[in-house]
């Protein structure tokens, strides 16, 4: 500890370095510990408590909230909450998939623009990303409203009851989710496409590979790093999304985010809300772990 070292050109001892380093470190660490780690732990503690008669928290240890999360309630087992969890996973999955399908043409299109205008096109993708989500979501409400052309068209085709809107509906949720997360996939994908080695594509074409084969053998593997980042940036926040299903899904299409919000507002059942939150956190961590393993595979390709 007291031996002399030279660190970045400075003659000092580890003890001295640590002492100064702590001044740099502690403000942020204390902040994050106090406002993220401790709240997180209190959420864990809360999930083992009980809701009182008037919505207050009763600190009596029990596992009932977790039993409810798995569907066991006072009226026996019901699949409702499990359904909501699975639905959240499914929505996140579909959103990610559609985003990927739409992101490829967009990323290639932007990469094919001349360098002078390329960043303008990229900015076009970034702008919605920075526009407030609440605004973008309510804008979709307008577009999907009963007397707007889209709904009129659906009504005319007999897909929709007269005077009904396209929202609230699962479709509206998907539309909202895809437009919200598309930039998250396009941006990392674009950075992979920009670095693409086109000689491989030409080689594949020289070997008379079909377009589809060329894509999957010469292009797809090269874009995997960017795609993986895009997938994680989409899938994980999509599972916990709350604004979009709230505004576009209505009561018909609840997701985990809405369930949590209900517990903290309408139902005033904080302990159960905490348990649901931890369920979502577990799903997130599983997603991250899978991504890490997959990420290693990507590096090998």
């Amino acid at each position: 500890m007291n031996r002399l070292i030279v660190w970045f050109g400075e003659l000092t001892t580890p003890a001295q370095l640590y002492r100064r380093g702590l001044w740099f470190l502690l403000p942020a660490v204390i902040w994050i510990l106090g406002l993220l780690v401790i709240p997180g732990l209190s959420l864990v503690a809360l999930s083992f408590a009980e809701r009182g008669q008037y919505g207050e928290v009763v600190w009596r240890f029990n596992l009932e909230n977790y039993a409810r999360l798995l569907g066991y309630g006072i009226f026996g087992w019901s699949p409702d909450t499990i359904l909501i969890l699975l639905r959240s996973l499914w929505v996140a999955f579909v959103t990610t998939l559609v985003c990927i399908v739409l992101a490829y043409p967009l990323a290639f299109f932007i990469a094919s623009r001349p360098p002078r205008t390329r960043y303008l096109w990229l900015a076009l993708v970034i702008i919605p990303f920075w526009t407030n989500l609440v605004i973008r979501t309510y804008a979709w409400q307008m577009l999907l409203a009963p007397d707007f052309p889209f709904a009129k068209l659906a009504q005319g085709l007999g897909l929709l009851a007269p005077d009904a809107g396209l929202y609230p509906s699962p479709l509206a949720v998907y539309i909202g989710m895809v437009t919200a997360f598309l930039p998250f996939v396009v941006m990392p994908l674009f950075s992979s496409v920009e670095r693409l080695d086109w000689s491989l594509v030409e080689a594949a074409q020289d070997l008379y590979a079909s377009r589809i084969r060329t894509f999957f053998q010469a292009v797809w593997p090269q874009t995997l790093p960017g795609l993986t980042v895009g997938v994680i940036l989409t899938f994980i926040p999509a599972m916990g999304m709350f604004v979009i299903p709230d505004l576009l899904g209505g009561a018909k299409y609840l997701l985990v985010g809405n369930l949590i919000q209900q517990q903290f507002y309408a139902s005033r059942d904080w302990p159960y809300g905490a348990a649901v939150s931890l369920g979502l956190m577990v799903m997130t961590l599983i997603g991250l772990a899978l991504y890490r393993r997959r990420g290693k595979d990507v590096d090998l390709v």
Partner: protein, 401 residues
């Protein structure tokens, strides 16, 4: 012209005393001692990983020695941090501050010591002058060429009037032509200022061109220290002989005032200290003639002759006396039996040779051509031609190991 403070000309300017540096289990420097008189252009020469840069960084204060002392003008500076040592460095990457102009870069060391404004102006102006940088003083480093950047790095160090200027491979980023020019400039600058320069390089030509003295380093040790001609003409070891230029290494057995090689007996100026060992001769010291020389003549056949314009390179095949074949066999078997330490050294020098294979003159294996000669381009020799080669006794260097 502005005067630059000169260290007193008496005694050693810099003294390295038994410096050891270990990085974990790896010993980068295994006890190095050196004396560098003031005003000398001193070069640390060696392959990468030999510890030369570590030694330089220890002098600069950018590395703490595990053992040993660094004494500057009689004062032990080992406990001083880099920013309190009257020593400045030109870094390999130049390490110019990218956000500061050339002028501000050069002024950095003066301003950081809160030097008087007028003095800063004066010294920076002087630095810009001697390195011909006046025109670029307002540019940022990224607007300069490699050579200009190097001059800024040099000026930035020199204006501080350091007792010792350290140069860490300052020319490795320059192309070959520019490098040769800069070497001459650097040498001239050092003589003009009379400062102590310590240069680190892996380039033996560079070392020979600029240095007063060279320290050849190998695996954390000093192999040989001396003036360029001493180190070149009188290498002490096989490693030294091979690292600086090309050398013919001839293996043989001791005789009084001579030795016996595979091709016969040769006279030497002294009796070798070993029973069995190596004698070296530079290719340009071998004389070729049609008539048999008085001493140390060998009847040889030209295996190959390569015309190189300024000179001619000839590979000679020596005739093996029947008796010498036996000798050779006995030699090689004894070499096999030699201690593991020696084989390890031999392996190390093999690796070294490989690493140097890019320089054409580096290798000097005895097979298949026994003697390599550098001679005047005319008359040209033909392969198969038989002639006499003379290995003059005063050109044969007995190697210690």
């Amino acid at each position: 012209m502005t005067t630059v403070a000169r260290p007193p000309a008496t005694g050693e300017s810099l003294s390295i005393q038994n410096v050891v540096k270990k990085f974990g289990d790896f010993t980068a420097l295994g006890g190095v001692s050196l004396e560098v008189p003031s005003g000398e252009f001193f070069t640390l020469l060696g392959p990468s990983g030999c510890g030369k840069t570590t030694l330089l960084r220890i002098i600069a204060g950018l590395e703490v020695p595990t053992e040993g002392r660094v004494v500057l003008l009689g004062k032990d500076i080992t406990p001083l941090p880099a920013n309190q040592r009257p020593v400045n460095t030109v870094f390999q990457s130049y390490a110019l501050f990218p956000h500061l102009s050339v002028w501000e870069n050069i002024a950095f060391g003066l301003k950081s010591r809160r030097m008087d404004k007028a003095e800063v102006e004066r010294r920076v102006k002087y630095g810009l002058e001697i390195l011909q940088l006046e025109r670029f003083k307002d540019r940022l480093p990224h607007q300069l060429s490699g050579g200009q950047r190097q001059r800024v790095a040099l000026a930035r160090a020199l204006v501080n009037e350091p007792q010792v200027l350290l140069l860490d491979e300052p020319m490795s980023a320059l192309d070959a032509k520019l490098r040769a020019e800069v070497q001459v400039q650097l040498r001239r600058l050092q003589q003009q200022l009379g400062l102590t320069f310590i240069l680190v390089t892996h380039d033996q030509d560079e070392a020979m061109a600029v240095s007063d003295r060279i320290a050849l380093m190998r695996m954390g040790h000093l192999e040989q220290v001396g003036t360029p001609d001493e180190v070149y003409e009188r290498p002490r070891t096989r490693y030294a002989a091979e690292f600086l230029g090309a050398a013919n290494l001839i293996k043989g057995l001791r005789l009084p005032m001579g030795f016996e090689a595979s091709f016969g007996k040769l006279a030497l100026n002294r009796t070798p200290p070993w029973d069995e060992g190596y004698v070296a001769i530079r290719p340009e010291r071998v004389r070729l003639s049609e008539v048999e020389p008085r001493q140390n003549g060998l009847r040889v056949r030209v295996r190959e002759a390569v015309y190189r314009g300024a000179y001619q390179e000839v590979w000679l095949e020596t005739r093996r006396a029947r008796a010498s074949d036996e000798l050779r066999e006995s030699l090689s078997s004894s070499a096999m039996a030699s201690s593991s330490l020696e084989t390890r050294r031999a392996r190390a020098s093999d690796e070294l040779r490989e690493s140097l294979s890019s320089s054409a003159m580096a290798s000097s294996s005895l097979e298949p051509c026994d003697i390599r000669v550098r001679t005047a381009p005319h008359p040209t020799f033909q392969a198969g031609q038989e002639l006499w080669a003379e290995l003059p006794a005063d050109a044969l260097v007995v190697l210690d190991e």
